[in-house]
Every structure is written in C-alpha cells, then in structure tokens.
Assembly symmetry: C2
Homo-oligomer: 442 residues x 2
C-alpha cells in the first residue's frame, strides 16, 4: 500500500485498494439515493472563461487542446478540465432548467483536476462526491440543515474514524466585520481562513497589514473566530461581544437553527465554529468544513455552503446549497494508515478446477450455475495438477475451489480451513461473509 | 431526450437519462465481477509518447497543460488524455507487475477522449467498459473464448436489441495474404477494413493501388473477406480457396475453437466473419467486433482482440486479450430511438409531507425509518397545502406521499391510483417494482 505514483499527484490504486475506494463510492451513492438525490455527470471540460470567473484559481487549471492545433475547431479553443463539480453543476442547471423539477436534488461523483503541488490529501487528479439542492428563484433555508444531516449520515457509514462537521455562516461573519468597521470582508475572511495554519498572532498581523485593522478590531475579529460550541451557546457568546448588526442577527439565527437541529439529530457530530471561512467567494450563507478527528492536518474531507447567485439565466437565479466529499483524500488516508481492510483482494469466491483438458466446457457450466445465484466464479485455464490449481486460487486470494470428477460428482473445498465436502452447483452457497469482498474499518 | 449538447461531442444526460446509463454500467460491473474480474481505474492522462507509439491517432489526441505554462513542472509536459483504456492498462500492468497475480483479470469503466468529428455513436468524450486478461510471459488461448462468452453474457443482460459478435483471427488473415503474395499485410487489412463502408469493387481498387495486388490476389482476398458463417463451416470454405500456409492453419484452428465453443454456449450470438480487420495494429490473433442487429450503421458496440506484445518490461512480455464496450455509443442509441424506458425519473419513492411548519423534524424521523429499510424518501421543504405538496411529488415523479397528522397517525397515498391507507413507517413497504427506478427494454 501507499506505493509511489508513476506521475506525481495522479494516484492509481491496486485492485484491493480500488475495492476500498469502490466501497466508499457505493456507500455514498446509496445514501444519496436513499435521500432522493438524482445522479448526474457533467463533461470533464468547461470553458476557461466559466472556470476562472467563478473560482480564482487560474494557476491551477489544466487547459485542454487538440494535439494538432491546425485541426482545432473554434468551438474547442479555450477548454479546460473542471477543478470542482459545483461550477459545472451551476452551468448544467442553467442549460437544462427547462427539463428539471425544482428544487432539484442531485449527486455527482466524478474526477476533478487541479495543478496543485501534490502532497498527501492533495492530488492533481481526485474524485469528489457532491450533493446539492438548487431552487428556481428561491430555496428554503431548511435545505441548509438537511444537507448537513445527509452528509453526516453518509460519512458515518464509511470505514473512517469519527469526524466533526464545523459550521459557520457568512452573513454572521460579514455582518460582524462590517459592524466593527472592517469593510473588506473578503480580505478579512481570507486572513481568518489561515487561523489554524499560522495561529492568532500572525492572523492579527495580517489583519493590521492587509485591511488596516486596529487593535480593538483585531481583538474582536479573533474573539469571534475563537468561538466554537457543540450547541447553540455560541449565540450568547457572540452577543457578549457587544456588536449589533442586522446581517449578523440573520446569520446568527440561521446558524442557530442548523446547529440546534443537527445537535438533536446527529449528537456529537456537529459544532458551530466561527473561524470557518472557506476560500471560495460564491458562498453567501451557511458554510461547512469537516475534519477527521485525530487527522486534522489532512484538511477538510467535506466542505461546502450556501450560494445564492452562482447560477443565473438572465435575471432568473438558481440559489443552492451543497457539500463536496473528498473521496480521494479519504481513500489516501485510509490506505496510508491502514484504517480499513478488505476481506479478499478479488471478487471471485470460487475457482472451478479442471479435472482434465476436456472438461473446460463442463467447468464453465458449473461456474454459470454459481453465477446465476450471485456467486462470483472463474474457471481454471489449464488442467494442471490439483495442487497447482489450488495454489493459484490461494495466490489470487480466492477462498473456495470446486472439483468435478469424471463421473460428474462435485466437491467444494475451503482452502483456508482445508474443509471439503460434496456440493451441488445449483444450490451450494458460501457463508454470507464470503459471497463478496467486505470492507471494514480496522 | 436527444437534446443538443452545449459543446458538440460532449454529451450530458438529464437525470432520467443518466438512470439508463447508470443501469447499463451497473449491469456490466455486476457481470464482470461475477466472472472474477477486478475493477481498476487508471489516471486520465498518459504521456503523449506512450499514446502515439501505440495508437497512430495523433490528430485525435487531446493534450493537457497547465494554464500558466511558466508554472508547469517538467514532469507534466507532454501529457494527454487517454483515447482508450487498453494502452493505459498495459502501462498499469507493467508498472504494478510485482503486485499483481497473473493471469490478471480486470475490468475498467471510465471516460475516454478523442478529438474526432462528432456524430451519433461517435462522441469526443465517451465511456468505455473494458475487460482484459493478461498473463506473465504466456496466456492460455482459452481466454480468447472465455472473454467472448463473458461479453455475450454482459451485452445480453442490457436493454438493447439482439446483437452479433463477429470474430476473425489476424493469423488467419495475415497467413493467407502472405501465402498469396501480399506482403504488406497491415495495408491489406486497412483496405479490407473498409469493405462494409465502400464495397468490394472499391476495396479491389484500393488493393491494386496501395499494395499492388493483381487480379487474382484481389479475387482471393475478397473471397476470403466474404466468408461469414455462424458455425465452423468457414474452415472448409477457406480450404476450398486452395491456399496453404502454416500461420493460416494456426489462425484457422484458433478461430475454429472460439466459434465452436461460442456456438455451443451462446447459440445465435456469434459468427466467424473473415472481413473483420480492426484498425489497431497491436492485435496479433483473435479479433472481435459487435453490431446491434438492425443498427449496423452505428458501428461496433464492442471490439477487441488478442495482443501478444502490447505490454513489455525489459524482455518480459505480458500477452493479453480483451474487449471494450462502447457505453456512450449504446446509451446514445437507446436515448435517440427510445429503446429503453425507466419507471420513474428520480430515486425517491416517498415524499413525506409536512402537516405544519413545526413538523419538519418529525417528518425527518419518518423518512429515516423508511430509508433504514432501503426505501428512498425525501421530506417536503414547506408546509404548503397538501394539494400543493402532492403536486410537487407528481411533478418530480415520486409515486407515494406520506401524511402524519397532529395525533401522529400515519397514512400513505399512491398518487397514481389515488389509493390511500394507514401505514407504519417502521414496516410499510412499497410494491417491489416501486422501490427503485427500473430500467427495461421497450
């Protein structure tokens, strides 16, 4: 595990590692579908204009062009690989608005690409699993709560350690900053975003240098960012700072509702954390980040927020709220620290052996009879000595081998225990735990 | 259905269309896993050198580069998006040979990109589903038979019309051409490959012009290419042409074995078709193509072959055999001609309504109780009049709505029949056909 990728930042998994990733994707998909989210995919490419307008990450975008430029058609110039699934989804909603029923709930699990410096938890090609709800003109605030609860349920079903969903609200933060006289709230948020990395003192210096904050403004901004409560007590702590503002009040009330409901339905999984800023500037209300407890340095494994104006068509807007789970970030950590295991490395449960070279077709019949009942089976390619065929199964990690003698009598052997007994290909079943590879937390 | 893509050649599906594509991918994955194939994914990018050395399609490759070229690191120059999954798989096998058990069976379902002129059945971004078996040094010929039977089973489980797997053998063709004095067998194959498109007369002209064939050579080459039999009778027909050659004999015997076994195990699905050439030059034995009956103009929906020297590491070779299913090509045809339908457009089976604004949390409890038993459920966002909430479910395509009155009594209504009755969220089940969206052939 944790081999070096042949191209830095482009991880590839071995088959048994891919089983863990596939399990995670399957669990997320199942949870999202149980919550009524429709699966979609968008094309890997967007226009460079669309990507840069919304993201501010020009240096990290991979451009795409036909190798033979003379052949390139005009429609294809200026394309690049998407760096997230939110910007493509906003375009998809606008383009297909006439075909969608709003509020539109969708999940999307796809690769994204960013030319960042690779390190653990930060790849250049990575899989994201997003859920969003988007309304036509308006979107009830309740979805901010529902989406938090949906990802808590989804992450809770994964073979990972405990995690904490940290929630804040842009209105709360922006209202507060403006009320204390810091008008460039985007710049304040960028500085506060570095709190965990560089500490309060350096963030204070940044605020003085970059937004011209005075001693008292720095004190208040840092006090606000220092508030973190597992319940709604943050409201009183903010009020105790003595700052009043309409937008601040609106944000306080929204965050109160999210945290109250989440603390009730998912106790211990959610905190109000008033230091959460999120880099992307399209968020307008609730913002979310998630850390794996004990793995905080890995960064957020699930982030998102409310965006009121990302998708527009003329003067029609499609406000939304969504979260994005970093599948590759989670899988990398699981693999590098052995946080989960898989019961076997291949799907195959049974190797059907060959008694002689003439029995291949008959062995295929046995394998078919097993597969029809959902038992993964493969047939040996040669009638080597049985010892060699068993060794092959062992080397592949296949738990059972099947023997059919020249009279047509069948026996099956568990090569782990050595137990062997007569069996009928039309009715034999392996123990439930041996039917498919099973992924579990270590 | 069949809307115009906003970027030509990059199709995107509506949620209900994606359900059909997802169903096809799920069926393929399930079949491949039942046959013991391990799922892997490879990175989207390869080096341009690797791609061009193996494919001869330089004009169609999409190059990838960092938008800010000054930032590009040396390791990243010369990257391009893969145009198939065979070349990346060969690299993966060589790189990871120390970690794989051979013969290694893998399936891989991923997007590929080619800058071809878009038309139905030919997109610039498309999903392929591949299976291959690769050996270390040698690979038993039997896998050529097994893989044909596996894709016949996989395609047979899809909601598509009948199909025909056409099989030929490169050794047979090359041996024959050489024996009649046509040494540039690759050029002959390229000409023969156009038979279905341009007809026998024009292929004859091509053979005269490009490889200098005389009247008799043209006659023999076209006679060979005209042989198509659903059984092993092609052997006698080839012999009747009076050409003898060692390689030809080897190919005849291989093709005889594949067709004999396939005709036995999948009657009516397979023909020996001696016109099949396949463009790619890495094939060395069996070659496959598949057409949907009645949709021959769509082109092949599943192609592949035996390759003995695609993957090498020093003087170690990894011979393989594999087939690639064109998922996007199949889905495009299903959608444009309405060949399949889905029972509803969303995963949600039940909309849990709100009696009043205070009942949202209680409604979430009901939804949770349903989901725990595998029933997809979502909660209304607002306590509008019940008529409006029912209309919302109807508009979304959700078949059931759930009511909980202020006393906590539950009722569920099938909005298609109007039938409504008391129900317990801990035990109620929809009819099996309503649990999930079901895709079926029309």
């Amino acid at each position: 595990m944790a081999r070096k990728a042949s191209l830095s930042g482009f991880p590839e998994w071995l088959p048994e590692e891919r089983l863990i990733e596939q399990h995670i994707i399957d669990v997320l998909r199942r949870t999202f579908e149980l919550h009524g989210f429709s699966g979609i995919e968008t094309r890997a490419v967007e226009t460079v204009g669309d990507l840069l307008r919304k993201g501010e990450i020009d240096k990290e975008v991979y451009a795409v062009s036909r190798l033979q430029a003379d052949e390139a058609s005009a429609s294809e110039s200026g394309l690049a690989l998407h760096y997230d699934l939110t910007v493509p989804f906003a375009r998809y909603v606008v383009e297909n608005s006439g075909h969608l029923a709003f509020p539109f709930r969708r999940y999307q699990i796809q690769k994204c690409w960013r030319g960042e410096r690779p390190q653990e938890g930060r790849a250049r090609e990575f899989t994201q699993a997003d859920i969003d709800v988007v309304g036509d003109g308006a979107l009830p605030f309740r979805y901010d709560i529902e989406l938090a609860l949906t990802v808590v349920e989804a992450l809770g079903a994964l073979p990972i350690p405990d995690f904490t969903l940290r929630i804040n609200n842009r209105k709360l933060a922006e209202g507060f900053y403006r009320a204390i006289g810091l008008e460039d709230t985007a710049a304040v948020l960028r500085s506060i975003d570095k709190l965990e990395k560089i500490g309060a003192e350096q963030v204070g210096s940044l605020l003085r240098e970059e937004v011209g904050a005075d001693q008292e403004q720095v004190r208040l901004a840092l006090e606000l960012a220092g508030i973190r409560t597992p319940d709604t007590s943050f409201v009183e702590r903010v009020r105790a700072l003595g700052v009043s503002d309409e937008l601040l009040e609106e944000g306080l009330e929204e965050l109160r509702q999210v945290v109250a409901e989440a603390a009730h339905r998912a106790p211990g999984r959610v905190v109000a954390d008033l230091s959460i800023a999120r880099g992307l500037d399209y968020y307008t209300g609730t913002v979310y980040e998630t850390v794996l407890d004990g793995h905080e340095s890995l960064g957020s494994i699930c982030s998102g927020g409310r965006y009121d104006a990302l998708a527009r068509k003329g003067n029609r807007t499609f406000p939304g709220v969504g979260l994005s789970i970093g599948v590759t970030r989670i899988v990398s950590r699981i693999l590098s620290q052995g946080l989960a295991t898989v019961s076997r490395p291949v799907p195959t449960a049974v190797l059907v052996t060959l008694a002689d070279e003439g029995s291949w077709s008959q062995a295929q019949e046995v394998a078919s009879a097993l597969r029809v009942r959902g038992i993964p089976a493969e047939v040996a390619a040669n009638a080597e000595k049985f010892g060699k065929q068993i060794k092959f199964a062992d080397r592949r990690g296949i738990p059972f081998v099947w023997f059919t003698d020249t009279e047509g009598a069948h026996e099956v052997k568990d090569i782990r225990s050595g137990e062997q007994h007569a069996a009928d290909p039309g009715s034999w079943l392996p123990p439930a735990g041996d039917l498919r590879p099973i992924v579990s937390a270590r």
